[in-house]
C-alpha cells in the first residue's frame, strides 16, 4: 500500500513538473482584436480579420511563435462602433492569463480619437496603421499613438505626387483644378490641411465637395463636378459612398482614369459593384492587392492548404482587405520581435510595447526574410516619427483585378512635417502636455 502511495505521489509530482514545463513553454502574448464581422462594414472586416488571424496562426504554428512566445489573439465584435471599441479597451487593458497588453489595435480612426487620452494615461500604445490622428506622428506629444505606415497627410501628398507624375511634373500642377470628394466625417476631412498646403505650394485650385454619410445618392455632388470641370478627382470616401461615387461619376461623364481613390476607397468591395464604371479607376495602395507575394506562397502552403485559414471563401485570398490584415499583423509581430530583443522573450506591457514600436525598423532585407517585398514598404519608426513610412503604390482596376502601376511613391515629408509639428504643438498647448525629449530618455 505504501509503495502504491509513493508511486502515486511520484507520478503526481512528475505530472506537475511536466505541466509546469508546458506552462513555461506556453508563454503567450495577449493581443485583443476589436473587430467587425457584422454590420455595415463587415465586407471589409471579414477579410481583414482573416488576414490578421492567418498571419498570427502562421507565426504560432509554423514559426513556433516569436522567439518562442506564442500569440494569444482574441476577437471582440464592435460593428465598427467607437463606443464598443472603448468598452473592449476597458475590458482588456489589464491583459489576460498573466499577459499584459503591449499595444491595442483600434481598427478605426474614430475609435483612435475616442481612446487617445485614455491610452496615454494608461500607457498603452494605440496602433492604427493608415489611420489615426495625423499629428500624432509627433511622438514627443503623442508617445502612445502610432498612425503607422501612411498618415492622412501622406495620403494627400502621395496622391498629388502621382498626379504630378501623370501630367509631366510638379510645375504642370499650376492652374489645374483638383477636387476632393470626401466622406463628410473626421476621416473624410482629415486630408484638408495637407491639400490646402500643397495647393499653395504648387498653385493648383483646391475644390472640396462633401458627401454626407452613407452617401448612397450623390447626384448633386457630381453635378457640381460636372459644372466645375476639375482635371482630377481625389475620392476620399468609405463603404457604399465609394461605389456610388464611381458610378455617379460615370453617369456625369467624368473619366474613371482621372479619379484617384484613397486607401479606404481602394478595395475589391469598392469596385466590383461599380461594374464597368470602375475600369481605369486608381487607388493609393499602402496595402496592394494580389496573392503573388512571397508571404502568400507560405500562407497557401501552411495555412490555406492545411485547411486552417480563417477565410470563408478562398477566392478572397490576396484581396486588398485580406492584405491589410496581413500587413498590420506583420507590423505587430515585428514590433514584438524588436521588443523581445530588448526586454527578453516574455509578454510585454504597454510601456515596453511603446519602446518596441518606437524602435521598429523593417528594411529591404527584413522584408525579404518575412516575405513582404512589394507588399509592405520599408519602414523605420522613431520617437519623432510614429508613421515610419509615408509611401504607397498606385493600383488600377482593370475590371477583374487590381494592377499595380507604380513602385512606392513617397509623400512630401519636408512640406508636411512643419504642419504636423504645428498641430501637435497646438494639441499639447490645449491639453497642457509638455512634449517629451526623446534624446534625453534613458531607454
Amino acid at each position: 500500500m505504501r509503495k502504491l502511495i509513493i508511486a502515486t505521489l511520484l507520478a503526481g509530482g512528475a505530472f506537475m513538473a511536466t505541466t509546469a514545463t508546458l506552462n513555461a513553454a506556453d508563454v503567450t502574448q495577449y493581443i485583443p482584436l476589436p473587430t467587425y464581422r457584422v454590420g455595415a462594414y463587415a465586407s471589409s472586416g471579414e477579410l481583414w480579420w482573416a488576414g490578421e488571424r492567418d498571419y498570427f496562426r502562421y507565426i504560432n504554428e509554423v514559426e513556433g511563435g516569436i522567439d518562442g512566445v506564442k500569440l494569444n489573439y482574441e476577437e471582440f465584435e464592435t460593428e465598427w462602433s467607437p463606443d464598443r471599441t472603448v468598452e473592449v479597451y476597458e475590458r482588456v487593458k489589464a491583459g489576460k492569463d498573466g499577459s499584459p497588453i503591449a499595444f491595442f489595435f483600434t481598427h478605426g480612426t474614430p475609435a483612435t480619437y475616442a481612446l487617445l487620452e485614455k491610452a496615454a494615461a494608461d500607457k498603452i500604445p494605440l496602433i492604427d496603421p493608415a489611420g489615426g490622428r495625423t499629428e500624432s506622428i509627433d511622438g514627443r506629444v503623442f508617445p502612445y499613438a502610432f498612425p503607422l505606415l501612411f498618415s492622412y497627410y501622406s495620403q494627400a501628398s502621395t496622391g498629388i505626387n502621382y498626379i504630378a507624375s501623370k501630367v509631366g511634373g510638379f510645375e504642370k500642377l499650376k492652374g489645374l483644378k483638383i477636387a476632393t470628394v470626401y466622406h463628410d466625417s473626421a476621416y473624410g476631412r482629415a486630408t484638408q490641411p495637407a491639400v490646402e498646403l500643397l495647393a499653395k505650394k504648387y498653385g493648383f485650385e483646391n475644390i472640396q465637395i462633401p458627401v454626407a454619410d452613407p452617401g448612397n445618392e450623390q447626384s448633386p455632388q457630381w453635378r457640381q463636378i460636372h459644372e466645375l470641370k476639375p482635371d482630377w478627382v481625389f475620392l476620399r470616401t468609405w463603404g457604399v459612398s465609394t461605389v456610388v461615387g464611381i458610378k455617379t461619376a460615370a453617369r456625369f461623364g467624368f473619366p474613371a482614369d482621372h479619379i484617384i481613390g484613397d486607401v479606404w476607397a481602394g478595395s475589391e468591395s469598392d469596385v466590383i459593384p461599380a461594374g464597368k464604371a470602375a475600369i481605369g479607376y486608381s487607388a493609393l495602395a499602402p496595402y496592394p492587392g494580389g496573392a503573388d507575394f512571397e508571404i502568400h506562397k507560405r500562407l497557401k502552403k501552411f495555412i490555406l492548404d492545411a485547411g486552417k485559414s480563417d477565410l470563408r471563401d478562398q477566392k478572397y485570398f490576396g484581396a486588398v482587405n485580406y492584405n491589410v490584415g496581413l500587413v498590420n499583423a506583420a507590423l505587430a509581430v515585428e514590433a514584438l520581435r524588436t521588443g523581445y530583443k530588448k526586454f527578453g522573450a516574455r509578454p510585454l506591457d504597454g510601456e515596453e510595447g511603446r519602446w518596441a514600436f518606437e524602435h521598429l525598423t523593417i528594411d529591404e532585407n527584413r522584408l525579404k526574410e518575412i516575405g513582404f517585398v512589394g507588399l509592405l514598404q520599408p519602414i523605420q519608426i522613431t520617437p519623432l516619427d510614429h508613421e515610419g513610412g509615408g509611401a504607397a503604390r498606385i493600383q488600377s482596376w482593370d475590371g477583374q483585378k487590381w494592377v499595380l502601376q507604380t513602385d512606392w511613391i513617397k509623400a512630401d515629408h519636408e512640406a508636411l512635417r512643419p504642419l504636423i509639428e504645428q498641430q501637435a504643438a497646438a494639441y499639447a498647448k490645449e491639453h497642457g502636455i509638455t512634449p517629451r525629449t526623446p534624446d534625453t530618455e534613458t531607454n
Binding site: 448633386p220 453635378r223 460636372h226 453617369r251 459593384p273 461594374g275
Partner: protein, 293 residues
C-alpha cells in the same frame, strides 16, 4: 435655368427610389398598424437571396421564383412566430418586435450568404441621356417607370380584387373584418409577402446602384421622412413624399448646401419632415383620425 431644371428632375427621379422603399412600410402599416422597422432588413434579405442564387449559376427567372417563395415563407414565419402571439398588444410592443426582427433578419442574411459586397447587373445602363441641355439618368428613369408600374399594380390589387377589399377591410377596422369572417392571419401573411416583394424590387434597384451589401438595410433612413411627408397610410402619399424629399434634397444640397458647408442631404430631409409635422401631422395623404376623448 438648365442647372436648376436638371437638379430638380434628377431629384424627382431619385425620389422615386425612396418611394419604392416607403411603399413597403405603407403596406404593412395599413394592414396591421405596425411600423415595420425590419423593412430595410427584408429588402437586404430579398436582394441578397436573389444575388446569391444568380451567383451560384441559377437562371434569373428561377432565382426570382425561389426568392419569392423564400419571402412568402418568411412572411408566414413572421406572422406565426411574432405577430400572432403579440396580437392585441400596443403599437410600441409591435414596433419593438420588428426592431428585434430586423437584427435577426440581418444576422441571418449575413450568416447564410456572407457579408461580401455582391455586384448586381440588371442590364440597365446608368449612362446619361439629354433633353436639350438637360442631362437625365437613364437608370433613374427606369426606376421611376418601375415605381409607376408597381403603384398601378398595387392599386389594382387593392381596388379591383376580393383580396384587396379584404385587405382594406382589415386596415380600416380589424374587429369588423374579423366579425364577417375574414381570416386576419392569412391577410397578414399576404401583406407581409407583398411588402417583401416590394422590398425585393427596391432592393434590386438600390442593389444595382450601390452593390448588394449590408448598407442596403440603411436605405430605410431615406424612407422615414418620405412617410412623414406623404403619410403612413397612403401609397400615393409615399410616391408624392418621395418626390418631395428627392427634389428638396437635390435642390437643397446644390443651392443651400454650399452656404452650410455641404453634405446637408441627410438632415435636410428630416428638417423638411419636421416642418410638415407642424403643418400636417398626418402627412399629405395620411388619414386624419378624430377620436372622442
Amino acid at each position: 435655368m438648365n442647372m436648376f431644371l436638371e437638379t430638380l428632375i434628377g431629384g424627382l427621379l431619385a425620389g422615386t427610389m425612396y418611394s419604392l422603399v416607403a411603399i413597403g412600410f405603407v403596406l404593412i402599416y395599413k394592414a396591421s398598424g405596425v411600423f415595420n422597422y425590419a423593412q430595410g432588413s427584408m429588402l437586404l434579405f430579398a436582394a441578397l437571396t436573389f444575388v446569391s442564387l444568380t451567383d451560384q449559376g441559377v437562371p434569373v427567372l428561377v432565382a426570382l421564383v425561389i426568392t419569392i417563395v423564400v419571402l412568402a415563407l418568411m412572411a408566414v414565419g413572421i406572422e406565426r412566430l411574432i405577430l400572432r402571439p403579440l396580437v392585441n398588444r400596443g403599437p410600441m410592443t409591435l414596433f419593438m418586435a420588428t426592431l428585434g426582427l430586423a437584427y435577426i433578419v440581418e444576422g441571418t442574411a449575413q450568416g447564410l450568404m456572407g457579408s461580401q459586397v455582391k455586384a448586381l447587373d440588371l442590364g440597365i445602363e446608368d449612362l446619361p441621356i439629354f433633353l436639350g441641355d438637360i442631362m437625365i439618368s437613364q437608370f433613374d428613369l427606369t426606376a421611376a417607370a418601375v415605381a409607376l408600374i408597381l403603384v398601378v399594380a398595387l392599386s389594382l390589387l387593392f381596388n379591383k380584387t376580393r383580396l384587396g377589399v379584404a385587405l382594406r377591410g382589415v386596415a380600416d377596422d380589424t374587429s369588423a373584418a374579423l366579425s364577417i369572417g375574414i381570416d386576419i392571419n392569412r391577410i397578414w401573411q399576404i401583406v407581409w409577402t407583398i411588402a417583401g416583394l416590394v422590398g425585393l424590387v427596391a432592393g434590386l434597384l438600390w442593389g444595382a446602384r450601390q452593390g448588394v451589401q449590408f448598407s442596403l438595410s440603411l436605405v430605410v433612413l431615406k424612407a422615414l421622412p418620405v412617410l412623414i411627408i406623404g403619410g403612413f397610410t397612403s401609397i400615393t402619399g409615399a410616391i408624392i413624399g418621395g418626390l418631395v424629399v428627392g427634389a428638396a434634397e437635390s435642390l437643397g444640397e446644390t443651392y443651400i448646401g454650399p452656404f452650410l458647408g455641404g453634405g446637408i442631404t441627410p438632415w435636410f430631409a428630416y428638417a423638411l419632415a419636421l416642418a410638415f409635422l407642424f403643418i400636417r401631422p398626418a402627412g399629405l395623404f395620411g388619414e386624419q383620425k378624430i377620436e372622442r376623448v
